[in-house]
């Protein structure tokens, strides 16, 4: 059974159709990259998968881990094992990072019928993860994303992913705004998550991230449709030739 199966997905916002028939299947163990020029519908796809209100699905189906995703609330999708890594993580002043991490983990554990995590082992695990992301412990006690640099925000997204161990990670432009060192750390984090039981979707504008996280499949999204799919060499072609050539070829 596919982990994620999107069939003929159409979605609009404020009456304007953005997604015009997307088909995509992601199996556990696979890494997919979705690339496309600005305005092709990449972020809309992420928001629709995340269940953001204001996006109306007019046609099509999405099945996640055997469940009808479109029937699920955002938080139900999260505790069922989907994690959306944001392009622009929002600031939540006054709420400590560590507090959100714990609440998020407990929400997931509750859904699985497990007890709340005990503080001692939680702290131990979080400290290890923080170190692995080349971050400082002080980071845990700052407000969620409050005053974080662009790179820190993205590291924080990956940190959450490592802690929550989702079945499907959907990472929206995780590479944007990262310097080369941060890009390496973030990529290592993503690579650590790769595994038989997990699917990863990287949504990205540039091929740069894919030098560090090698995708199994690459899809080109254009005007709300996937117009071409291939293996990682497609990403190299995009990098070398730009979108124009491939768009012309597809049309």
């Amino acid at each position: 059974m596919a982990l994620l199966e999107i069939k003929n997905l159409h979605a609009e916002i404020d009456g304007k159709e953005i997604l015009r028939g997307i088909d995509l299947t992601v199996n556990a163990g696979e890494v997919h990259a979705i690339m496309g020029p600005n305005g092709s519908g990449k972020s809309t796809l992420c928001h629709v998968l995340g269940g953001r209100e204001g996006y109306e699905v007019t046609q099509g189906t999405i099945t996640f881990d055997g469940q009808d995703l479109l029937e699920m609330e955002t938080e139900e999708r999260a505790v069922a094992g989907m994690l959306l890594g944001f392009q622009h993580p929002v600031e939540i002043p006054g709420v400590k990072n560590i507090y959100l991490l714990k609440e998020a983990l407990n929400a997931k554990r509750e859904a699985q019928g497990l007890d709340e995590v005990d503080t001692f082992s939680f702290m131990k695990q979080v400290r290890e993860l923080v170190a692995s992301m080349d971050m400082d412990d002080a980071f845990l006690h700052r407000g969620v994303n409050a005053g974080f640099s662009g790179g820190e925000k993205k590291r924080n997204e990956i940190l959450q992913m490592l802690l929550l161990e989702p079945k499907l990670a959907l990472l929206d432009e995780t590479d944007s705004g990262l310097d080369i060192d941060a890009l390496k750390v973030v990529s290592e984090g993503i690579n650590r998550m790769r595994g038989e039981e997990r699917g990863i979707i990287l949504v990205t504008h540039y091929q740069r991230l894919l030098n560090y996280v090698e995708p199994d499949f690459v899809h080109v999204l254009y005007k709300g449709r996937i117009i071409k799919s291939g293996d990682k060499t497609l990403a190299h072609r995009l990098e070398a030739e730009g979108y124009q050539e491939i768009l012309e070829e597809a049309s």
């Binding site: 995340g50 269940g51 953001r52 209100e53 204001g54 609330e73 955002t74 938080e75 999708r77 999260a78 505790v79 994690l83 959306l84 944001f86 993580p89 929002v90 939540i92 002043p93 006054g94 709420v95 507090y99 959100l100 609440e103 998020a104 929400a107 997931k108 859904a111 407000g143 969620v144 959450q160 929550l164």
Partner: protein
Amino acid sequence: MTETRELEQLVKREYKYGFTTDIEQEIIPPGLDEDVVRMISAKKNEPEFMLEWRLEAFRQWQKMEEPDWAHVHYPKIDYQALSYYAAPKSQEELDADAPESLDEVDPKLLETYEKLGIPLHERAALAGVKGANVAVDAVFDSVSVTTTFKDKLAEAGVIFCSFSEAVENHPELVKKYLGTVVPQGDNYFAALNSAVFSDGSFVFVPKGVKCPMELSTYFRINARNTGQFERTLIVAEEGASVSYLEGCTAPQRDENQLHAAVVELVALDDAQIKYSTVQNWYPGDEEGKGGIYNFVTKRGECRGDRSKITWTQVEAGSAITWKYPSCILKGNDSVGEFYSVAVSNNYQQVDSGTKMIHLGERTRSTIVSKGISAGRSQNAYRGLVHIGKSARDARNFTQCDSLLIGDRCGAHTFPYIEAKNASAQLEHEATTSKVSDDQMFYLRSRGLSEEDAMNMVVSGFCKDVFNELPMEFAVEAQALLAVSLEGSVG
């Protein structure tokens, strides 16, 4: 738009404390004249000086006009239609004294406080249930029901009792301090209170004593068509310190009820008083029907050098809140602090803030005000920072933040600054923000329910204030906010 409506649904609150205790009560007939003032004084077996003091207040009140400058609207109050004294009958029979032990207290009253989660059994409190190491004075309508841990406090030299008992047992202290911070004629509601106040709490911490436990008063309005007028007086002598918390609830009723309290704090040299309020009077229903009019005068005087007074308040209830806990910084190097969270929802109206009156040299004050408005409520911060001529090198820092939930509520800020000494340093920061759809989506995508997400954003917003609450009550305050913002989702 849809999101706005959902956010509003989310903050629809249910009031948990709206029940009425069915108990026989003695309520004097409605109306107010000198005879009523005399009757209240007589019921309390008060000495002559108290009666004179009340009558003087009443005469001043008669000459005063009800003020109307606040950013609140309500129909004119008919002061002759209110009853000015209500007491449970069983309590009435026990003379003016509070009962000696809990066995003498009407079980229905005990039940009421149990339902409200207020520990009146010292043994239970000591056994480590919630509220341990907190002494409680429980005021039911016009009278104090009981005060816990009196003996333990007396060992330390601390007097903690109902106001009536203080008048009877410590008249010299009452005479010395009553009305020295809020004089009888201070304002319309303070004058009314001074004339008819029926009970309240009295705290006296002698020189050098650090009060060994948190003190707390729990006010409960039960009777219908009555006003509640309690009076609290806290005195900390040289080097003494005390932390005090008041909580309040009332039944759910369609008509409005008036609550006009007065709180006076006096801190002598090097003394510290921390006064925290968790105010949860019935706020009225979704259409704005019913609820308490909370018109309160609270003022502390840092009378001695290096003294410190801190007001911390979490205001969630009342149909209308109109109050400004203030500090008069008379002593040199004295410190005044005001930390406030005011939540308003539905048709609630809040006009609250503080006054910091700097008179002594090098006096410092801090104001942190967090207003949260939802529904169709109006939430105003009104603050005065006054630097007197004599207040050399005074400093004030004011931070005033508003959080809006939905798009039909209002937040208003009215800061006033009067600086008569050029050496003063004043800072004022103000922000207004909305709980954004982005924040809600972000938190929900991490698995938090809408309610939990909302609570998280709101408590993050309030953190600076919660940090100032005594430990035991920080949790309670957070829970109160959660309840206030609890509602029917989806």
